[in-house]
């Protein structure tokens, strides 16, 4: 009895699956056999490629150097992870042979900021949030070499940073003679461990890092750097400016625990630009164990400059408009010709029809986007490099995410368009609604009208958030830079942005299914 019921239920399940298979096949036949759909999808891929190539051809080499830094051209400073980095600072150093540690007490961090927005013609005293002063150990003073450092910062407390991209938080708060910070970095084999203390007796560990292949003798010492003051030109237009700054730190109780004989401290700038402004040079004053070190510069990944493979995908907007039109027409054309009545009579489960349509239009759009992106990325990359444009290196996995993500972006947008088409049943209104929701936020974001904060919210809340799936250069919390849409940065992470679009599409599909079931065809 029970077995019979289960068997019957299973048979019913199989029959339902077979029916859905038929519905799916019917929708596939509709799209495959009508020339307009096929041509439309080819056009979607072609415009993606054509506009991408056109904008690549129109792009020429451009030096994005910030004041006081070298032009990040091909072959410039690259960190151990292959990423472009800034590496300029004042270094008071001694060789450290074998295991040992360096300790220093920082009693002051002050500085100068040139031409801040509220005093556009003056050099004022002040410290930028990521001005850095502390102890550092690195295999050599070559720019771009591996390192680990423990430091005080302008307004982010004590940090331990290593190999440019990693940043760990320590004690919060600023530094002063009344509230100094003790910093220590110990080396044991290939492992460097950072410690901090407020009083020089109670120490806490911040973190540890293993720098593989660390030579026996490394360079250990004090460093000071102060990155450019980057600010949005008051709110509007997302305009950014970067101005030279300088930091001065006072160290005492400096000690190097070393098995070898104690040498003397040698000071010098790393990454000094010949002929740079006097303010950029920096220096060292030493008296009775007090070291006063001054310098501009930064030890950090380079961000907000240059382009990446994402720059070749400008045609996505055009491809997107084409698939929106096709997605809407995939259902509104049936309403117009009355074919929808035949479709719904043939498969009365309307939810299944909607699902089948979504799967078919989504898959076809995905292929169009994937093919378009897979063609334009290598071609555009080749053109840009031939034009001398520096492109950020992008890992294979990220490259695949960007290309497949472009396909997924087109697919989910086409499904959204389909669902809105079912809801409105009028093609013009549906096309306008979806284009306005997905493309207009970007138009507003790049126009010089809205303030930066407002554009960030536009790109978080609207389906346009999904363009974040094309972002392939990381945004670093420890680097203040021009993270704007025109430079390929979005306010949400790639997958979070894509999820926003998926959310809209899912909501629209549910509404469409409900309306399709309720309304007469």
């Amino acid at each position: 009895m029970t077995a019979g019921m289960t068997a019957r239920r299973r048979a019913g399940e199989r029959a339902r699956q077979a029916r859905f298979g038929l519905v799916l096949r019917a929708e596939w036949t509709k799209i495959r056999t009508v020339r307009g759909w096929v041509i439309g999808m080819i056009v979607a891929a072609l415009v993606t490629v054509a506009l991408g190539l056109l904008s690549s051809l129109a792009t020429h080499s451009h030096c994005f150097a910030r004041p006081g830094q070298a032009c990040p051209g091909p072959g410039s400073i690259v960190g151990p992870g292959g990423e472009p980095v800034s590496d300029g600072y004042y270094f008071v150093r001694q060789p450290l042979a074998g295991n040992g540690s360096i300790t220093a007490k920082v009693t002051s961090l002050a500085g100068l900021i040139t031409y801040p927005p509220d005093h556009p013609n003056a050099i004022v005293s002040g410290v930028v949030p990521w001005a850095k002063a502390g102890v550092i150990i690195e295999p050599s003073t070559r720019q771009g070499s591996a390192y680990a450092a423990v430091m005080v910062t302008g307004s982010h407390g004590v940090r331990m940073q290593y190999n440019y991209t990693s940043d760990l938080a320590g004690l919060p708060g600023g530094v002063s003679a009344a509230s100094p910070r003790w910093l220590r970095l110990t080396r044991s084999g290939d492992t460097l461990t950072g410690y901090q203390s407020a009083d020089g007796t109670h120490w806490t560990e911040i973190g540890a890092v293993t720098l593989a292949g660390l030579p026996v003798t490394v360079q250990a010492g004090l460093f000071v750097a102060s990155p450019s003051y980057v600010f949005t030109t008051p709110g509007f237009g997302g305009g950014f400016a970067g101005h030279l700054t300088q930091a001065t730190a006072v160290f005492d109780h400096v000690s190097l625990q070393d098995k070898a004989a104690r040498g003397t401290w040698a000071g010098g700038g790393v990454g000094v630009i010949p002929g740079g402004p006097a303010l950029a040079r920096g220096g060292l004053k030493e008296s009775a164990g007090r070291f006063t070190v001054t310098r501009t510069g930064d030890i950090a990944p380079l961000a907000g400059v240059g382009r990446s493979i994402e720059a070749t995908l400008q045609g996505t907007f055009a491809g997107l408009i084409v698939v929106i039109v096709l997605g809407v027409m995939f259902v509104t054309a049936e309403y117009r010709r009355g074919l929808i009545r035949t479709t719904l009579a043939a498969s009365p489960r309307r939810g299944q029809v909607l699902a089948a349509k979504a799967i078919v239009i989504g898959s076809v759009s995905f292929v169009a986007g994937l093919v378009g992106a897979a063609a334009v990325v290598p071609l555009g990359e080749h053109i840009l490099r031939a034009h001398g444009v520096y492109l950020h290196p992008v890992s294979t996995l990220t490259g695949l995410r960007v290309i497949a993500g472009t396909g997924a972006l087109l697919a989910v947008t086409a499904i959204l368009a389909l669902a809105v088409g079912v809801m409105l049943r009028r093609s013009a209104g549906a096309v306008t609604a979806v284009i306005v929701a997905t493309v207009l936020p970007l138009v507003l974001a790049i126009s010089n009208v809205l303030p930066a904060g407002a554009t960030d919210w536009l790109l978080r809340l609207t389906p346009a958030a999904a363009f974040a799936i094309q972002q392939d250069v990381p945004q670093y919390s420890q680097v203040i830079a021009a993270y704007t849409v025109t430079r390929g940065y979005y306010p949400l992470t790639p997958w979070a942005g894509f999820a926003v679009l998926c959310g809209y599409a899912a909501l629209a599909l549910i509404l469409a299914a409900v309306l399709l079931r309720k309304r007469a065809a």
Partner: protein, 274 residues
């Protein structure tokens, strides 16, 4: 027969016969979508304008912002709905087969298209005036509370101010020209979805392309001078006038040229395939 001929001879008014105008007005008026689209265009234009005006200029900073242009940001959204309406004026007749009746009753296509254009422009000018007036009013009320005070050389938006009046009146004309441009495209591409896709692509893609061409100022400059939306919206600029890629009225002229060219092209194609 004689009566028909007599009527035809009598209706040599420049925009086709008053009967044609009356017929188009009745068609547009009795379709529910028209007023929904116009109402939505007004509401969205004002809402976006008010939201944009609600941005703050922090104390102690100089905000190099064009307050007139900021409050008229909503036009960039409102134009999409105006374009939809314009496309539907033609394409809905094709999708319902109504066009056969229209052409039987009014065989002179230029007259019919002119009648459509006149009715459409009339409606858009009326709705555009309400939307722009609402936006300017919203800006006038909202801006001073957000740091854009007269003391910091942001006088309250006033139609008595020459450039502000030009930006406001020009935005209304801009919307009317967008309607004509869309009508022209819809005459060429009769499918509503494809036509509106082409219109919005023509409007929105050039600014997106221009934005990434920072390294190529010549191309950027050309796009800003000749793309319909970029050029047309220079009519909204009231500050930095010596730095514009094209003069405000010149920009609107570029958009008018686009609209005229597309309408003429559409009409010529239409006459050929009679």
């Amino acid at each position: 027969m004689t009566e028909t001929l007599g009527r035809r001879g009598a209706s040599r008014c420049p925009f086709g016969s008053t009967r044609a105008l009356h017929a188009e007005w009745t068609k547009v008026r009795t379709v529910a979508g028209t007023f929904w689209l116009l109402a939505a265009a007004i509401a969205l234009t004002v809402t976006v304008g008010a939201a944009a005006a609600a941005t703050r200029c922090p104390a102690g900073l100089a905000c190099p912002v064009d307050t007139a242009r900021l409050t008229l940001t909503g036009v960039q959204l409102g134009q999409a709905l105006i374009a939809t309406l314009a496309v539907l004026v033609i394409s809905s007749e094709y999708s319902t087969g109504m066009i056969r009746i229209t052409l039987t009753a009014m065989p002179r296509r230029p007259a019919m298209l002119a009648a459509k254009a006149v009715v459409l422009v009339g409606l858009v000018l009326a709705a555009g005036a309400v939307a722009v007036a609402g936006s300017v009013l919203a800006g006038r009320v909202i801006l001073p509370g957000h740091g854009f005070t007269a003391a910091r050389s942001f006088p309250p938006l006033s139609p008595g101010d020459g450039p502000v009046l030009r930006a406001a009146a020009g935005s209304v004309l801009y919307l009317a020209l967008i309607a004509l441009l869309s009508l022209g495209i819809a005459t060429i591409i009769r499918d509503a979805a494809a036509a509106i896709g082409v219109v919005l692509g023509l409007l929105y893609l050039p600014p997106l392309i221009a934005a990434v061409l920072a390294s190529n100022p010549q191309w950027q400059h050309q796009i800003e001078r000749y793309a319909p939306m970029n050029a047309g919206l220079t009519i909204q600029d009231t500050t930095g006038l010596h730095n514009l890629p094209i003069s405000p009225w010149g920009g609107l002229g570029v958009l008018a040229t686009w609209a005229a060219a597309l309408l003429t092209g559409g009409l010529m194609l239409w006459l050929r395939d009679a």
